[in-house]
Subunit: 135 residues, 3 copies
Amino acid sequence: MSHPKTAYTPATHTTPPARFSHGVRKGNILQVAGQVGFLPAAEGVAPTPAGPGLREQTLQTFANVEAVLTEAGASWEDVVMTRVYLTDTAHFVEFNEIFNEYLADRVEVPGARTTVYVGLPAGLLIEIDAQAVLG
Amino acid sequence: MSHPKTAYTPATHTTPPARFSHGVRKGNILQVAGQVGFLPAAEGVAPTPAGPGLREQTLQTFANVEAVLTEAGASWEDVVMTRVYLTDTAHFVEFNEIFNEYLADRVEVPGARTTVYVGLPAGLLIEIDAQAVLG
Amino acid sequence: MSHPKTAYTPATHTTPPARFSHGVRKGNILQVAGQVGFLPAAEGVAPTPAGPGLREQTLQTFANVEAVLTEAGASWEDVVMTRVYLTDTAHFVEFNEIFNEYLADRVEVPGARTTVYVGLPAGLLIEIDAQAVLG
């Protein structure tokens, strides 16, 4: 017998650009796909990142991750790993401030994290994915 | 008592360049190592990526991931996360077309995905790893 | 009922630069955060990478991952996935030699691995994270 697999798609989310799910659970593992700082989806409007700066885009990215967690009945407390993709090492200090501020009241035992610097499509400064263990 | 750990190495695969396994299962987790678009291993021939373009290399990379899944008795339906490493943001649209086409008949509930742009060894345009939850 | 979540922080480790844990376990999953080659923490001294070269920094990075595993009662044998972030493709061959040497007596069934090339803060040549399955 195989565990069922369930996809989670918050109503606020833009449609994924390909055949993947914003969040999926199988067994005890909930995986949130790489989220970026797109504003809530609006019909007829192309996906648009929050702005103008790193702060707004980061907070929107966190909100998008959290929306998937919530949709799956999970919270940041269930998250064991957050992968942060930044595009500029100069953003590290400000990002950490926002990260700490955002999670301050959301998590008691912080999960692990890896932060690396990669390329992202034009206009995107940050991407975050997360894995939670449930049950 | 600890779960046994099992390595999976498809016969078609080139030997890993270091002490790691193409696929490994422990407990309910099956992890497929980062796969690239190398053609099936041939004795005395250095690992060679499929070509000439992104399409051929991507399809070979998918086939290499799938070979590990199959060897472990798993399928794309068990995969909760696919990590895609591309080298050029200009490849995103074409990659998504190939991704959708490849998975169309292979998965009912799509897993999550993260795509970022990194550096890879010369000649490689793409690398993909995947995590499945079994049992 | 939810699995408890436990953070692991080896005494030798520098304080994380933000609200995350060097290692965390929930259920059967132990996740080690991205480790770099910082020398053991010393009071009043800023985090300093081992040097002068790739070898020293890599070995220190491995030691830092291992310290988290040990703190959590785990070992390399429990690790199913190691993610290696290098900054220069020219380091691949030497890195693999060190990787093989380090793991030679530490693991019987090697885990999976993905290696990609990214940007890291100045002075850092390598970052590694790892996921283990326990129980």
